[in-house]
């Protein structure tokens, strides 16, 4: 059992189906290290609660009345005061178009609603920590699908601002490696790995790890199909 005194992860649940919402709320409330700070039944409420509570993670159902989860995600990711909020999209039918769009507008990942509770809780922790991608191979495949290949000069000037080490770390992140894994692969400490990832997030004004992967593909640093 961990002895760290890290602050609890603050979570909001947004889902229009009352029984789904209450189920997830009961689950999250029962968990040590997680605090439920709000709930919402549609996209409008989700944005309102996100702005009021500034949670670490918001579980966002895609299909809701009044305003859907995609639109709510857009509004949240466009809001500078909500930079630290991670959106974890919930879906019943993982229709690629919706999931693509969610990732494209800044969601950190998605989970099926019928995912087992232990896996759902793990997903919340993974996106909150930012140390790894959620479902790395699926997430990368989805990002590959929607990022258009860079046309014109292969060299993207945005890469010029990176140190050699940072390029290596970005490449590793884009391959889906967690901080622990890339620290191993690149012979550095995990703390150093985290520092590099932090610098990368700042240099690219990237919201989170998933968005770093998007950047890596957009700049041509990593090619689709690269495993």
């Amino acid at each position: 059992m961990t002895t760290t005194t890290s602050t609890p992860i603050r979570v909001v649940v947004a889902d229009d189906q009352a029984l789904v919402r209450s189920g997830f709320l009961a689950l999250l409330r029962s968990e040590d290290g997680i605090d439920v700070v709000g709930e919402a039944a549609n996209g409008y409420e989700a944005v309102k609660v996100a702005r009021a509570q500034k949670p670490d993670v918001i579980l966002m159902d895609i299909r809701m009345p009044e305003m859907d989860g995609l639109e709510a995600t857009r509004l949240i990711t466009a809001d500078p005061s909500l930079r630290a909020v991670r959106v974890l999209v919930l879906t019943t039918f993982d229709l690629d178009a919706y999931v693509h769009e969610a990732l494209r507008v800044g969601a950190s990942g998605f989970v099926l609603k019928d995912t087992l509770p232990a896996d759902l809780l793990a997903a919340v922790r993974v996106v909150a920590s930012g140390d790894a991608l959620l479902a790395p191979s699926i997430t990368r495949r989805l990002i590959e699908d929607f990022v258009s290949r860079p046309i014109g000069p292969r060299h993207d000037p945005r890469l010029d601002q990176l140190t050699t080490r940072e390029r290596e770390v970005l490449t590793a992140v884009a391959k889906g490696l967690s901080n622990a894994e890339l620290a191993d692969a690149l012979f550095m400490s995990v703390a150093t790995a985290k520092t590099h990832v932090g610098h990368l997030l700042t240099k690219f004004s990237a919201r989170d790890r998933a968005q770093l992967v998007v950047v890596a593909y957009e700049t041509g640093l990593v090619e689709p199909g690269h495993r």
Binding site: Q17, L19, A26, S30, R63, P65, R74, E101, D114
Partner: protein
């Protein structure tokens, strides 16, 4: 183990487009009940030891939800067996759009309505889904409209049909030539559009299309969507007398959907009826919740597989 006899299937029944639409609608609702049941079962299992009261609540919720879903399925079976669904549900087609728009105008909303392309070239199922989506969007406009204006555009091109329904605001116009149903992000807190968005998504998705709804950049609300179809499909469903037909493949998909949903709901209802007391018999409660979790999750996986197959081959 529970009774695995099929019971009446869709294949034994009348198969007019009206029946198919009703089947689609009711199956959509039941599929979402499966999701609710899966969540409740999972949470109930997870909290069984620490919070037995939550597990008890989960079992109650599952029982109620499965009962409702079973009732809906029974009603569906009844409708499919008896009578002419055309009396119950008029077959929606794109020909009905004019009448629909006229209705909305008489409700006091100024509607701009444009159509581009050949409506006759659209297969019956896709046409019905498009009509329903536009109908739902316009119903919401009438219910929630602030501006008293709406703009409806339907465009057929390049093997897909696009729709857009804009509620109010200046500058509304027909859909742009893009198959991506997206709305640019906006910070404005506009008045909400409507309910029934789940049904819209489902209807489009069943044919491999997509719908998006959200506030418009200029103010107001937008529902837009795009559904693909193939020429072969169109050819296959246009009998010479002009009445809409349904492709064999669509019927097969509908049957599969019905079977998955029917079996799983029956199994879940059977399990939930056992009514184990979580405090007195936690083992039975665990077994029940575990079985329900497995059945509902398996059914959802099968439904996802079915949807993926439909989407990857729009001729299906």
């Amino acid at each position: 183990m529970c009774d695995t006899s099929e019971g009446p299937t869709v294949s034994g029944m009348r198969r007019s487009p009206g029946h198919m639409r009703m089947a689609q609608d009711l199956h959509d609702v039941v599929a979402h009940s499966l999701s609710v049941i899966a969540v409740q079962a999972g949470v109930g299992l997870h909290l069984l030891d620490r919070q037995p009261a939550e597990a008890g609540r989960a079992l109650d919720a599952i029982r109620a939800t499965s009962r409702t879903a079973a009732g809906e399925l029974a009603r569906l079976v009844d409708i499919l067996r008896t009578g002419d669904a055309a009396d119950v549900v008029p077959v929606p087609s794109l020909d009905g759009l004019d009448a629909l728009v006229a209705q909305v105008r008489s409700a006091g909303v100024a509607v701009t309505f444009t159509v581009e392309g050949d409506l006759d070239g659209v297969p019956a199922g896709v046409a019905a889904a498009t009509f329903r989506i536009v109908q739902e969007a316009l119903t919401n406009v009438v219910r929630h409209a602030v501006s008293g204006e709406a703009c409806v555009g339907v465009r057929i091109a390049d093997g897909h049909i696009e729709l857009r329904v804009d509620d109010g605001g200046p500058g509304a116009h027909a859909p742009a030539s893009s198959t991506r149903a997206t709305t640019p992000g906006t910070e404005s807190a506009t008045e909400p559009g409507g309910h029934g968005l789940v049904g819209m998504y489902e209807r489009a998705a069943a044919y491999g299309g997509a719908v998006h709804a959200g506030p418009r950049p200029g103010g107001g609300f937008r529902v837009e969507g795009s559904i693909p179809f193939t020429a072969a499909e169109t050819a296959g469903v246009r009998p010479p007398n002009g009445s809409a037909g349904i492709s064999v493949e669509r019927l097969r998909v509908a049957d599969e959907l019905h079977t998955i949903v029917m079996r799983s709901i029956a199994a879940i209802a059977h399990q939930a009826a056992r009514h184990p007391d979580v405090e007195l018999d936690p083992t039975a409660a665990r077994d029940t919740l575990s079985a329900i979790s497995t059945v509902s999750r398996d059914a959802l996986d099968e439904l996802r597989g079915l949807i993926r197959r439909v989407r990857s081959d729009p001729a299906r």
